[in-house]
């Protein structure tokens, strides 16, 4: 028997605007929220929505992602029939291709989808932080008897021209699609999450592949072609928390927002919609005798002996006595040595901030940015890192970087 729906998760994104954080891993593998990676959100949404067959399309730096997903057991996706499968580009008898665009990535995996003979396919993006019930989205798709549905968010009109916009009538039927227009006719931004009837998707993927001028992209090619043919297309309104954490400031901000679930709307304390992740397997965290911890999230393996305020600490972070961590995102395994002051920044995995070093110092006359320390970087004792710095290499003792 076929599956009702199969999810295809686009996880090949480089996330180039995350710079140092995505040198060695794809954007969906970027750590988030203390114990998650970004991709935990769409995968957990699938499981919580009753979708048990997920293809993950990888391309850029897939190693961390492959290892992380493994057999899918943390998400309960190690299934006999279905489950989660990593789908990298592969060599074929008639040559091999990287995934040329989002649509081409799905096209190259038509055989995978066919194996499950689904009625519907949901296309997901592996680089958004969002808790969404795809079952509700599918119910909408069926109710409208749609051939294609897209999840949309209302955005402020002033921002609308930054998005791909869906113009829809009072029945949510899509009449026009505008990609980052100068004069927006709508404020319904596409979230890049689509449900297709599989027969329709397959037909348009094959036609798109046959068109040598196509960029093989959903937004630029497939959706305009569907519109041209007057397909039954509908916009599904989503109003929950949604964030594309594509830049350092937005990633930092989203982490800070989980500290304030009452206002931001991203609540990780939801027993009915758990976000699953691969466990670090460490002991409970420890707050030492001289420590101060305020308004922060702390997880397994952390040892806090300094001061931590309004920060998110990932598994196994150590904060030595006398160190101050404030408005910071400190990823797994990093060490903040004594006397260091680490503010308003993102410190990636396994970095070391030396004694009395300062990270996130604002320079006179410059705007206050989010300082970023890359993974495994050693910042020497007494070093000073400016608030707009992007540190990829080790920093010597006493060195100053703006």
């Amino acid at each position: 028997m076929g599956k009702e729906i199969v999810a295809m998760l686009l996880a090949g994104g480089q996330g180039s605007r995350l710079y140092a954080l995505t040198q060695k891993l794809a954007k969906p593998a970027v750590p988030f929220g203390g114990k998650y990676r970004i991709i935990d959100f769409p995968i957990s949404n699938c499981v919580n929505s009753g979708i048990d067959t997920v293809g993950v399309l990888t391309q850029y730096q897939p190693f961390v992602l492959n290892e992380y997903i493994g057999n899918g057991q943390p998400w309960d996706l190690d299934r006999l029939n279905g489950g989660i499968h990593v789908l990298p580009p592969y060599q074929k008898a008639d040559g091999s291709d990287w995934y040329k665009g989002t649509a081409n990535a799905i096209y190259q995996n038509i055989a995978f989808i066919e194996r499950y003979d689904p009625k519907y396919v949901i296309i997901l993006s592996g680089d958004q932080i969002c808790k969404q019930d795809y079952a509700d989205f599918l119910a909408f798709h069926k109710e409208k008897d749609a051939e294609f549905s897209v999840a949309v968010m209302e955005v402020p009109w002033d921002d609308a021209s930054r998005f791909g916009l869906m113009v829809a009538d009072e029945n949510d039927k899509i009449t026009e699609f505008q990609e980052k227009p100068k004069n927006p006719k709508s404020n319904l931004a596409s979230m890049g999450i689509y449900i297709f009837n599989w027969d329709i998707l397959k037909k348009y993927l094959e036609e798109d592949e046959a068109d040598p001028d196509s960029e093989n992209d959903f937004g630029n090619n497939i959706i305009p072609n569907l519109l041209k043919d007057n397909r039954r297309m509908y916009a599904y309104h989503f109003s929950g928390y949604w964030k594309d954490v594509g830049t350092i400031p937005s990633l930092w901000e989203a982490n800070m927002e989980i500290l304030d679930p009452e206002h931001s709307g991203i609540n990780l304390f939801d027993d009915d919609w758990k976000i699953y992740s691969r466990n670090a397997g460490m002991t409970g965290h420890k707050i030492g005798s001289g420590a101060v911890v305020e308004n922060s999230m702390i997880t397994d393996g952390c040892r806090i002996d300094g001061t931590v305020q309004h920060s998110v600490l990932y598994a196994g972070v150590k904060v030595a006595p006398g160190a101050i961590v404030k408005d910071a995102v400190i990823m797994g395994g990093s060490v903040i040595k004594s006397g260091a002051v680490v503010e308003h920044c993102i410190v990636a995995e396994n970095a070391v901030i030396g004694s009395n070093a300062k990270v996130g110092v604002q320079k006179d006359g410059e705007s206050f940015g989010v300082a970023t320390i890359g993974p495994g970087v050693y910042v020497g004792d007494d070093a000073v890192i400016g608030s707009n710095a992007m540190v990829r290499e080790n920093v010597k003792d006493g060195e100053v970087q703006w």
């Binding site: 929220g33 203390g34 114990k35 057991q73 943390p74 500290l259 990780l268 304390f269 758990k274 976000i275 699953y276 992740s277 466990n279 397997g281 002991t283 409970g284 965290h285 420890k286 707050i287 030492g288 005798s289 001289g290 420590a291 101060v292 911890v293 305020e294 308004n295 922060s296 999230m297 702390i298 997880t299 397994d300 040892r303 998110v312 600490l313």
Partner: protein
């Protein structure tokens, strides 16, 4: 770590249950929560798995629901195996059922299983001690000494609860006299001797063949307990070898030691020592990280994920999902999973079982020598 494929493990999860009747009224010793996110059995299971022992039997006697729920198919310990893996042996529920008492009669129940296994050695162990134990070194020592039975011990004074009068006729503690080659020359039960003793950990290594023969022979003679009915009477014919364990351990003998052994881990040195030899695996709950809200004051405290802390916490071990309300003051406590301490409540030296609730403004105090216990789902 060298894989030792030649031993299988047998765990006795109910031994010493009666020492902590409060905690074992709804569970076994093996499934008592410990160290903020573990159960006692996790330590011995993980130690075995990390030593390459992947054929492990759990001989459950009673109150084993929570243990079965915790262990499941053994996936978290990587024991979901086609060959070997985890096997739970509850007593056979029928009219003529006789539940097991000692090691000999329990092992007699699974003789058919033991006979068809392939491993050369058997490790027998209880679960009342939290330690990361190097079973490879233990098996190597057993082989090197040429002993029939090797037993692990620690050097310590007999703890007060073990010496207490009420202990007579209940649980049995074993102390050993050793010769200069560490061969056991005398076994005592619940000895009252002062000073440092060789105190048994009830962790044994025996060759499978020897064990099978011994159980078959002695069961017929009416033997129930391995130590009382077999070893101590035959020390001249059975070569019992002592193996000194000098790693970190926490042994549970009563509610006070349960509180103390948890709180002792607040010292980083102890915490590091307990987890020094190997990672310890446990069942996961996928809680979000713990949240310290403005107004929270946490000092010298260990906590698992999923807690929300708004009050003051000092010298405590908090299990998953504990909530501490605004203005609450919590000192020297062990609070199990999903305990709720209401706004403005004040508690000291208490042990709460799962889902216990201390209502807003209430005050409950035990003492360091006699912690106050609040049972599962109880609301104060």
């Amino acid at each position: 770590m060298v894989r030792n494929k030649s031993a299988l493990g047998i765990i006795f999860p109910n031994n010493y249950d009666s020492l902590v009747p409060e905690l074992t009224s709804i569970r076994s010793m093996a499934s008592i929560p410990f160290a903020s996110r573990y159960r006692l059995i996790d330590f011995v299971l993980s130690s075995m798995v990390n030593a390459g022992i992947d054929n492990i039997s759990v001989l459950a006697q009673s109150n084993y629901r929570s243990l079965m729920d915790h262990l499941g198919a053994g996936r978290e310990w990587d024991l979901t195996r086609k060959n070997g893996g985890l096997t739970i042996w509850p007593p056979f529920a029928e009219k003529s059922m006789v539940t097991y008492k000692g090691r000999i009669d329990s092992l007699a129940h699974i003789m058919f299983f033991l006979e068809k296994q392939k491993e050369q050695y058997v490790i027998l162990t209880d679960t009342n001690i939290a330690a990361t134990f190097d079973f490879n070194a233990f098996i190597d020592a057993h082989i090197a000494s040429g002993a029939d039975v090797t037993v692990a011990y620690t050097i310590e004074e007999i703890p007060a609860p073990a010496r207490a009068e009420k202990q007579m006729g209940r649980e049995m503690y074993f102390t050993y006299k050793l010769d200069e080659n560490s061969r056991v020359t005398k076994v005592s039960i619940n000895s009252q001797e002062d000073g440092l003793q060789n105190f048994g950990m009830n962790i044994y290594c025996i060759s499978r063949e020897y064990l099978i023969n011994m159980v078959k022979e002695e069961y017929v003679n009416g033997a129930v307990y391995l130590e009382r009915d077999v070893l101590m009477k035959n020390l001249d014919t059975i070569h019992v070898q002592g193996y000194k364990f000098d790693g970190y351990y926490g042994r549970i003998h009563d509610m006070k030691s349960y509180l103390d052994e948890n709180l002792r881990l607040l010292d980083d040195e102890n915490l590091n020592a307990l987890f020094a030899n190997c990672p310890v695996y446990t069942k996961l709950r996928d809680d979000n990280p713990t949240r310290y809200i403005t107004g929270a004051k946490a000092v010298n405290t260990m906590a698992a994920d999923g807690c929300v802390i708004e009050g003051t916490v000092e010298n405590c071990v908090l299990f998953r999902g504990v909530k501490i309300g605004k203005g609450a003051v919590v000192k020297n406590c062990v609070l199990m999973q999903d305990t709720v301490i209401g706004d403005g409540a004040s508690v000291e030296y208490i042990i709460t079982d799962k889902n216990a609730v201390i209502s807003d403004g209430k005050s409950v105090k035990g003492s360091d020598s006699y912690p106050f216990y609040i049972s599962k789902r109880h609301v104060i």
